[in-house]
């Protein structure tokens, strides 16, 4: 147990800090549309050109081949440097990329990984369906093998940034025989292929990040299957463990900063009676609890990194972190709304620094996406505590 960074790691961190100071863009990040795509990919390219993309990805695919700890340092420093959000690069960097590294063939890796790192492609995720949410393995988007192609028909939903994406990690049903988990295939879909129709869905925060995606006789070469036909469930699960663990480190640092900002805000702001907000006992108690819990979150994140540094793939303990983080982020976001009182009633554009209510609404996604909090609790109960499966 130690917190020390070796001289080598400290030097790495200093290098990161210096580079970020000089290269973080000062203009505001767009939160919607093609401007967002252009901005986010430009930032990804800038990181790649600086040698900071794919820090723990293999060198042969454009990464740096460094340690998970160095990747962690990078994520932390991004948060401290107020660097742009990962935005449209999220799926490529945090899901598709790691999945391809773990499970894809050489040609697939050689083609896609450099494009992801260089900001040449945007990925989206095609997992959820209208009839398959928490019961993901119940998905029914069909793919028939015809010659050397898959012909896909069906529908996906809650697909973030589908209208901005070039590729999709798509789960399809290639067999209806046997266990439902066994008939699933993970395939790379070209989002520009004929037969794909995208309909944006507005979210409760405002901008349309969500989409429905319809597939009408979409032809995908069999060579785009990752991990083999019928093995899609295990391929998808390797993706989800990434999503539940290290990928969120940056959000955790942001939460630490937010608590400090809110504490300062509560000390400055006065209510209509002229009383400082922090002198309201319920506000003080909630702030203190949230600050303490955020410190515990930091500890849990460091422990999770330590665990994952000792093994090749992230484990289910990431769900402990995910449950704690997602619910804490909701409590903190609501606390911010309560500190600013009626200002929380004002419709403000999402992304503005003082859009406290909109930020609160955004956190509702945290306990739904990437496995709802109920599914996370099933995972903890069954896989960590050994409780029997059931309903």
């Amino acid at each position: 147990m130690d917190l020390d960074l070796s001289p080598e790691m400290r030097a790495f961190r200093d290098e990161v800090r210096t580079w970020l100071r000089e290269n973080v863009p000062s203009e505001p990040q767009p939160h919607d549309g093609p401007e967002m795509r252009d901005f986010d990919l430009e930032w990804q390219r800038t990181q790649y050109d600086g040698g900071w993309a794919g820090i723990n990805w293999p060198v042969e695919y454009g990464g740096r081949g460094l340690s998970l700890l160095q990747q962690m340092i990078w994520y932390e420093e991004l948060a401290w440097a107020d660097a742009p959000e990962i935005g449209v690069s999220f799926v490529g960097i945090n899901h598709a990329g790691p999945t391809l590294i773990a499970r894809a063939g050489e040609e697939q890796k050689a083609f896609h990984l450099p494009k992801i790192l260089q900001g040449d492609s945007v990925w989206c995720q095609g997992f959820s369906e209208p009839g398959a949410g928490s019961d993901l393995a119940g998905l029914s988007t069909r793919a028939e093998i015809v010659g050397d192609e898959l012909v896909v028909n069906g529908q996906k939903i809650w697909t973030s940034y589908a209208e901005l994406a070039d590729y999709q990690e798509l789960l399809v049903r290639t067999s209806r025989d046997g266990r439902k988990h066994d008939g699933i295939t993970w395939v790379i879909a070209d989002m520009h292929a004929p037969g794909i129709t995208i309909r944006p869905i507005r979210t409760m925060t405002g901008p349309a990040h969500f989409c429905e995606v319809f597939y009408d006789d979409v032809h995908i070469p069999l060579s785009s299957v990752v991990g083999g036909v019928g093995n899609g469930w295990s391929v998808a699960m390797s993706t989800l463990s990434f999503e539940r663990g290290t990928g969120f480190l940056r959000d955790q640092v942001k939460l630490v900063r937010l608590i400090d900002e809110l504490t300062a805000l509560a000390r400055d702001r006065v209510d209509h009676r002229g009383r400082r907000r922090i002198d309201d006992d319920t506000i003080a108690a909630r702030l203190a609890t949230a600050r303490a819990e955020t410190s515990a979150l930091t500890a849990m994140a460091l422990a999770d990194i330590s665990r994952n540094a000792r093994r090749p793939q992230p484990g289910v303990e990431g769900s402990l972190l995910r449950v704690f983080f997602s619910e804490l982020s909701q409590r903190v976001a609501k606390l911010a709304v309560d500190i600013v009182e009626e200002d929380g009633l004002e419709a403000r554009p999402y992304g503005r620094d003082d859009a406290y209510a909109q930020e609160w609404y955004r956190t509702f996604a945290a306990t739904i996406a990437a496995g709802s909090k109920d599914i996370q609790r099933n995972i903890i109960g069954e896989r960590l505590l050994g409780l029997p499966k059931g309903r």
């Binding site: 504490t263 203190a288 930091t298």
Partner: protein, 334 residues
């Protein structure tokens, strides 16, 4: 950077766990007599032999030369098993003696010859201890620092019965001079003690998590183990989340204090806040998960709750903890 225990640390934790489980399981508390010492003599002797009172004391003073991080592993196990006795006071006193350089005292403490009660501030001029029948000396911890008193330098003013079967509550008045004392800038005794208390609370979080999970696997209703029902399963999962948060924040607090980091003050206060909250909630859930048997006096579930209640009140009240968390400076890790 690695927050998890290494091989040596894992061995220390396992040794402590085995020792406490063998000599002082939680069920022992059902059999303790009122107004009598609570320490299990074999446990105390073997704990001293294994060096558990001086893990973070420098080797030149007879300690193991390790750190508070290792000491928290032992206290986690003491908490898990509801071990009774003046462990907290003795280890706080050892650290105090190490800071003050009192080698003779240290030798007595590390060898277990001098069990020390922990005392905090009760009311004006009075101190409070829960180790009254076992302590042969006291370490008084307050905002003003830490002071060590031999038994003849204090007198018991009043005894009070305690909800916790292993606590021997008394109010003390100081009648003599301290053998040693240090101001808070030399030894942050409140922070140090809080980390040990938090470690015990984190052990209680783990114990109740495990007790509930094991029961949920074997107790059947509607022909199914109750752990297969989400209402129960999810409570058990929440217990696991709270236990993980508690254990990790204790480690982080111990390491930041030993490293003298800028965020040490925030981390020990955070550890107190989180472990107290999580322990009380896990203990409550554990009673609920057990149903009727969990409400009985003969089951262990209530013992955990009551010990957590006492630990959560030591050195700092919940309001003190709240202020300590809010007043701790912002700290970007260096």
């Amino acid at each position: 950077m690695d927050l998890l225990p290494d091989d040596q640390q894992t061995a220390i934790a396992e040794a402590a766990r085995d020792l406490v489980a063998a000599h002082s399981p939680p069920s022992r508390l059902h059999t303790l007599d009122d107004d009598a010492p609570v320490t299990e003599p074999t446990l105390w002797r073997l704990a001293a032999q294994q060096g558990f009172f001086g893990l973070d004391v420098p080797e030149r003073f007879g300690g193991a030369g390790l750190s508070l991080a290792e000491q928290t592993l032992v206290f986690h196990e003491l908490g898990r098993s509801l071990a009774a006795g003046p462990f907290l006071g003795t280890v706080v006193a050892a650290r105090l003696a190490a800071v003050a350089g009192d080698e003779a005292l240290l030798a007595d403490l590390v060898d277990g010859r001098l069990p020390v009660g922990l005392a905090d501030v009760a009311t004006e001029g009075l101190y409070r201890t829960f180790d009254a029948d076992d302590a042969r000396a006291y370490v008084v911890v307050s905002r003003d620092g830490a002071a060590f008193y031999d038994a003849d330098a204090v007198e018991v003013v009043r005894r009070r019965p305690c909800v916790d079967a292993a606590s021997r509550w008394a109010e003390l008045r100081v009648t003599g001079q301290p053998r040693i004392s240090t101001p808070p800038d030399q030894f942050d005794a409140v922070g140090y003690g809080s980390i040990l208390i938090s470690a015990m609370l984190s052990g209680i979080c783990a114990a109740t998590r495990d007790q509930s999970a094991e029961y949920a696997k074997v107790r059947k209703q509607f022909d199914l183990p109750i752990g297969s029902f989400q209402a129960v399963k999810h409570r058990c999962s929440d217990n696991a989340v709270r236990a993980e948060a508690a254990a990790q924040v204790v480690t982080l607090a111990a390491l930041t204090m030993e490293d003298g980091r800028a965020d040490a003050g925030l981390m020990w206060a955070a550890a107190r806040s989180v472990t107290a909250d999580h322990a009380l909630r896990n203990c409550s859930d554990n009673i609920q998960n057990h149903g009727g048997i969990g409400y009985t006096g003969e089951h262990d579930a209530h013992l955990f709750l009551k010990r957590a209640q006492v630990l959560a009140d030591l050195l700092l009240t919940p309001a003190d903890v709240r202020d300590a968390v809010l007043d701790a400076p912002e700290a970007r890790p260096a």
